[in-house]
Symmetry: C2
Subunit: 301 residues, 2 copies
């Protein structure tokens, strides 16, 4: 087994996790969560998005969140930005890193952002320009890298093409998202290998949803193919908008437990993350979806 | 990646899954479950145990269960047998396969069966004799192959020694159980490699509990080391007696989904298993723990 000695975890719970919550989460709870996550050792905590509140009401208070969090030196707090208008919000909120997002499936891109993949890149142009001007780092997301809820299987070559385009545009890294969490290790490896024909593996991150419980197996498989950056969400926050009641992002606790067992460094403290997870779950009035979180809670009880 | 073309799944839901349920499960519900599992394509369905009802009250009706199930040709229905007395019950119930069980940790063996590992082998002697006389197949279980809830880490060499002893005694296969579900892929591979120094890999099965969500990753890892038999429980039934509220056995649905994605044959129908899982969960008044089961349920809703 050929694993990296060190992986970087990108905590996406406050954004990708919470955005699926129906009830509004107060600014205070988000700020407490983000501060607890950075204190636990995360070097990147996705803090919110500047998307129209009409589409994602849960993220409407991202400007306040960005004002109130403790910005820990060395930690980045990327926010999602769909277009120039969102970028203006990010600049006003003094964000130092943004994330842009498109998809590998035309149908998904259209349903999710109301434009074609090409049009999404046209929207990114003024965003990238402004990012350069303001010295902001830009991360790229590609959704539906395995399959699309509308169009079915997605061709790995398409994922490669979109990923390369994001990097050419100036993204420092591309996060490959199995948005509906249907992938299994063989498909994920094939997809990674196809993308790696066009872009260096060091520029790639994997973003798995645990809808079908395959995330850790997928992480293990793609780690053997040189992937060393993983998006995770504390407590396994989030859900699947395409299968209500299904699981959300892979849990940070579960990934940490896996890495600890393999002796792979990541710099994040499991107990501190689990505590942050329990607190946000209390605020949300739900149980953690992460199995490690559940086991730690059960052991403590 | 070097995976087998075919794996054998051993369904342990009706025994290892249900034995942790506090409320009694009626014979009728167990029989319906076992018949649904064999109809779904399983070639082995663990049907119960002849353990003292004082210790495992949930399994007290195994004799009735064995009388009432439809014995599908080609399917084995092993029952757990701890000693000669249990063996008498298995013979009376016309069982064709039994399973004996010991542990790789002295402390666990003592707490679980009230005897030392050596003494457990002494108890097996008359059982094996009777099995031979009655032409019954015998499967062996080793518990706590990674760690013990009382003694901590377990030495892989100890697992190897106990496994070899079970095979020498006449077991056709040894199932290696991470009873408390704490193992991660590196440890599991190290354990398998140690055991494989003493016994052929084809004689080994892996039995994972999903307490810390690592089961599928562990299965993937040990599959690359030549393991091709896996114990699974429909709906992820069961729980962890050492962490109340934690997950149980790895879900059959989750393992099938993984194997289907990898193109590995197993002969079991996912939808039929998921249906059987939903029905027993209704009978138990609980939600399935299997993420695939949850996702299929969510999609259907």
């Amino acid at each position: 087994m050929n694993y990296p000695r060190h992986v970087r975890l990108v905590e996406v719970g406050p954004r990708d996790g919470l955005q699926n919550e129906a009830k509004p989460v107060p600014v205070q709870a988000k700020v407490a969560l983000i501060d607890a996550l950075s204190a636990a050792g995360h070097s990147a905590v996705e803090a919110g998005s500047f998307v129209s509140p009409k589409w994602v009401p849960q993220m409407a208070n991202t400007d306040e969140v960005m004002t109130q969090i403790k910005r820990k030196p060395g930690v980045s707090y990327p926010v999602l930005v769909p277009n120039k208008q969102g970028m203006n919000g990010a600049i006003e909120a003094k964000c130092e890193e943004i994330a842009i997002f498109t998809a590998a499936s035309e149908a998904f891109c259209r349903k999710n952002t109301n434009c074609s993949i090409d049009e999404s890149f046209a929207r990114f142009e003024p965003v990238m320009e402004a990012a350069q001007k303001h010295g902001m780092k830009v991360r790229g997301y590609v959704s539906t890298v395995i399959a699309c809820p509308y169009d079915g299987k997605v061709a790995p070559a398409k994922v490669a093409e979109v990923s390369a385009r994001l990097l050419r545009m100036g993204c420092y890294e591309v996060s490959l998202g199995d948005t509906i969490g249907v992938g299994t290790p063989g498909e994920c490896v094939a997809m990674i290998d196809a993308v790696a024909e066009k872009v260096p593996r060091e520029k790639l991150a994997a973003h798995f949803h645990d809808t079908y419980g395959q995330s850790l197996a997928n992480i293990l498989a793609v780690m053997e193919r040189g992937i060393a950056v993983f998006d995770t969400a504390v407590a396994g926050l989030g859900g699947c908008p395409y299968a209500k009641g299904a699981s959300g992002n892979v849990g940070t606790e579960d990934v940490i437990y896996l890495m600890n067992g393999l002796g792979i460094e990541h710099g994040v403290d499991l107990d501190a993350i689990a505590k942050a997870g329990r607190e946000i779950c209390v605020a949300l009035g739900r149980e953690p979806a992460s199995k490690v979180a559940q086991a730690l809670k059960a052991k403590a009880a």
